[in-house]
């Protein structure tokens, strides 16, 4: 056995609970089997291995869900809502009444992670996470099943995100508050965070209001190798060369990692100065090799005078939020809750 590999595996085992280690390592293992050196992806095996769950309008722990299929695109989004007190279990959701006419109910559009290639809105890990988001942050969540790479490269995921944003904003049944509007936030982990950023930029440019962005260890990168990438490569579930594969699969052929999709505030990025960009909550895991890029991103937003709250979780690894068995999870949920329920609303 290669000595350095053994050390690496032991390190990650000491910082997360055992069931978390098994979960994330299992994903890592599966993902290794799916990526091919020639840039193609074993999609059938990926779908076979992915644990999916159906939507369920019978409330489970106070949350119910249903899928909406966009007939034009054939893509679905899964809507999660707190079960109303007097739910009539006749089972048809009549989408005509607003969420509330008195209170404000935030609607979080969620983009799941998976480095643009893996997972779906109905993947069990994300279905469970979204349900928890509803309960702990008293919000409605719309999880978008965007198109994935390498079959669908940039800008497909961003387009799907943009369409989802407009769809959500135009639903009367997602409105709340006294002035009957949809109080929209966007959130995403890993590639989902990257998508949320880019959709937010477009929203700002086209004057579509988004109240806030929540980025959970978002996927950014660039050509240069940062200190954290060098230091943490292979140590906590993630290898740099794998990151590179996903960028090659997502970015247009021939582009490098300084493409603005990957490095939005980098040399080929666009200025966000003067743009009505939403406030951001950027959560960085201290054991994520991409943290330097995420910290640069947060700094970059600040330099453009945008509102950023940085949540730096020193001892967290990627995927800490999949299982609620650690402090980081609860810390994150509290922050999100406060973020989508600002005091003066």
């Amino acid at each position: 056995m290669a000595g350095s590999n053994e050390v690496n595996l032991n390190e990650s085992k000491s910082v997360v609970p055992l069931n978390t280690w098994v979960l994330i390592s299992n994903f890592k293992l599966a993902y290794n089997l799916l990526r091919r050196a020639d840039g193609t992806f074993n999609r059938e095996l990926a779908e076979f291995l992915d644990r999916k769950v159906p939507a369920n309008t019978i409330p489970v722990d106070g949350v119910f869900s249903f899928d909406h299929v966009d007939r034009n695109t054939g893509l679905f989004s899964r809507v999660y809502q707190p079960a109303p007190e007097n739910v009539t279990t006749c089972g048809i959701i009549e989408l005509e009444k607003p969420l509330s006419t008195t209170e404000i109910v935030p609607v979080i559009i969620f983009f799941h992670g998976g480095s643009f290639s893996h997972s779906s809105a109905n993947s069990a890990i994300y279905d469970t996470f979204c349900r928890r988001l509803v309960t702990m942050c008293k919000a409605v969540v719309v999880s978008v099943n965007y198109r994935r790479s390498p079959e669908h490269r940039y800008p497909c995921a961003y387009e799907d995100g943009w369409n989802a944003l407009n769809w959500v904003k135009s639903r009367t049944w997602l409105q709340s508050g006294k002035d009957s509007k949809v109080y929209v936030y966007m959130a995403g982990d890993s590639s989902g965070g990257n998508i949320a950023h880019h959709v937010a930029v477009r929203a700002a440019e086209e004057d579509v209001e988004v109240l806030g962005n929540i980025l959970l260890h978002p996927l950014f990168g660039g050509e240069k190798r940062t200190e954290s990438e060098k230091k943490l490569d292979g140590k906590y579930f993630v290898k740099l060369q794998d990151r590179d594969w996903y960028w090659r699969a997502f970015l247009p052929e021939g582009e490098d990692r300084d493409h603005h999709a990957c490095n939005p505030l980098g040399p080929k990025g666009k200025s966000l100065k003067g743009l009505k960009f939403p406030k951001s909550l950027v959560c960085v895991a201290g054991l994520d090799l991409l943290q330097d890029w995420q910290l640069e991103y947060a700094e970059g937003l600040k330099n453009y005078d945008h509102d950023v709250k940085l949540l730096y979780l020193k001892e967290a690894t990627i995927g800490f939020y999949f299982l609620p068995n650690n402090d980081h999870f609860y810390c994150l949920m509290n922050e999100i809750n406060a973020f989508v329920h600002p005091p003066n609303c």
Binding site: N5, V22, L23, N26, K52, N56, T128
Partner: protein, 499 residues
């Protein structure tokens, strides 16, 4: 962490499945986490020391099973990679976890209660649904007058709606069914069921998926056997069997002697439909050099079939094939003195000691006693099925397929007691029932999944999707599974835990 005590069979046996992992779709016993972690590390090392192309090839060539069981999945990969000890798939571990499943039912993923909705936004559709629900509700309460007037109201609404697709179309069928329930049959469409079946077979992939997946499993189960016997619980036109005959013909080492026993309703007039199908299949078998024998068993109901009619010999490997038939047995009157129809039939299936029993069923809960529950479940289920049919470009396949489905809808909505045969139950219930009556699952693997996925590419509509569900495969429309295929084997008597 969940702790279930198996209080019935073994004394003080504690089984813990990690609850948090279960919430995200994985089954691992807490006590085995360390062992599983170790094996993951071993496999990681193997992968790290192999070339990337080797890994990709290996991943494609290996047959993966039930990824929710991480321990077994990793073990399987390790032994496959080793090559030195290519163990046959470990069934003993399998039945262990299958047992756990029965006890772990309050996790929402394993919860029997699942409701999937049709969402409606347009005002007219909302109104229509409202009235449909109220009508069904008043029927349940016995308020026939209100129900009747609502039906009139809905028929009026429909005249202003698009009834060629979407909710208008499906609602039309349900209004019609409610009408029949109250006022009885008026316009009966005189088309033979097997004709409708054939069009349904062509219009959408559900039956093809069922046949295809079952045949794969049967083929594998028949490996190494020279005398094989397939018992088909509903022969119809024998559409499933040409493919199996051809696959057996091409089997390395040559085809076995194949016997097919087809069960079906007695024919009217002087025809013998079963025999005619049998002759056609025999001709096909002859053309590909497969020794073949056919026997038809005519019976109106499956529960009227007795095992001796099937003339199973102990020398042959038996496959029992049930495509959407088992649910028809669930309507027998409960009788404390006699076993129910389903128990009887499952009992004699076990006595045949089949190598495999393939079961395909609608993934729906249409067997609730409460009328409202059944009605709303059916509305959602068939809305989705009709949605998927909309993409079918071929007529009259599509129109006939709709009539085929309409008959199912009518049975679910209008009938009660033994007349109600469309008593669909979801996979989770079948697993429980089959587990209790002495069957254990044979897992369908990634090869079956892959082939089913490829089958779907032949259908133009892009919403169909195959999913893996703990050893079974489901075919659905977008994110809603509609049909589930599973395979089973009888547990030897000595290993059975009686509940």
């Amino acid at each position: 962490m969940e702790i279930e005590i198996d209080s019935v069979s073994s004394p003080s046996k504690v089984k813990e499945i990690d609850g948090l992992l279960a919430d995200v779709g994985y089954k691992v016993k807490s006590s085995e986490l360390h062992q599983v972690a170790q094996n993951i590390e071993r496999l990681e090392n193997v992968i790290v020391n192999s070339s990337s192309s080797d890994i990709s090839q290996f991943a494609s060539d290996t047959i993966h099973y039930d990824p929710s069981d991480i321990g077994n999945w990793v073990d399987n990969l390790l032994s496959e990679f080793d090559h030195t000890n290519s163990l046959p798939y470990d069934f003993s571990q399998l039945s262990d976890l299958a047992q756990d499943q029965h006890q772990h039912h309050h996790h929402h993923h394993q919860n029997h209660q699942l409701k999937v909705v049709t969402t409606v936004e347009e005002d007219s559709a909302i109104k229509l649904i409202h009235m449909l629900m109220t009508c069904a509700d008043s029927l349940q309460r016995g308020n026939i007058q209100l129900a009747g007037s609502l039906i009139e109201g809905m028929q009026g609404l429909l005249t202003n709606m698009n009834t060629n697709s979407g909710i208008g179309k499906v609602a039309g069928y349900f209004i019609d069914a409610l009408n029949r329930r109250i006022f009885g049959q008026n316009n009966i469409i005189h088309i033979e069921n097997d004709v409708l079946y054939h069009h349904y077979y062509e219009a959408c992939p559900y039956l093809k998926f069922a046949h295809f997946t079952a045949n794969q499993a049967i083929l594998e189960a028949f490996n190494g056997h020279d005398c094989v016997h397939v018992i088909d619980f509903n022969l119809m036109h024998g559409l499933q069997w040409p493919a199996l005959i051809q696959a057996l013909a091409l089997r390395p080492g040559g085809p076995p002697f194949l016997r097919l026993t087809g069960i079906g309703p007695p024919s009217h007039d002087d025809r013998d439909n079963l025999r005619e199908i049998g002759l056609r299949l025999a001709e096909l078998a002859r053309s590909v050099n497969v020794r073949f024998a056919f026997r038809g068993v005519a019976a109106w109901r499956l529960e009227d079939v007795k095992p001796w009619m099937l003339q199973v010999s102990s020398k042959e490997a038996v496959a029992v094939n049930s495509i959407m038939q088992l649910h028809r047995l669930l309507g027998s009157e409960p009788d404390p003195n006699n076993p129910s129809a389903i128990e009887t039939v499952l009992g004699w299936i076990r006595s045949l000691n089949p190598k495999i029993m393939t079961v395909v069923e609608q993934e729906a809960n249409h067997n609730e006693d409460g009328f409202m529950d059944r009605f709303t479940e059916a509305l959602h289920y068939y809305s989705t099925v009709f949605d998927s049919l909309e993409a079918c470009p071929v007529e009259p396949d599509k129109a006939m397929a709709e009539i085929y489905l309409q008959r199912e809808i009518c049975n679910v909505v209008c009938c009660e007691g033994p007349a109600r045969v469309e008593r669909h139950e979801p996979l989770i219930k079948w697993r429980e029932r089959l587990g209790k009556t002495g069957f254990r699952p044979l897992h369908l693997g990634s090869n079956a999944f892959k082939q089913a996925s490829m089958l779907l590419t032949l259908f133009s509509a892009e919403g169909y999707c195959v999913e893996e569900n703990q050893g079974s495969l489901t075919l659905g429309w977008h994110s809603r599974p509609l049909i589930a295929a599973s395979a089973w084997q009888a547990v030897p008597e000595t290993l059975r835990f009686d509940h």
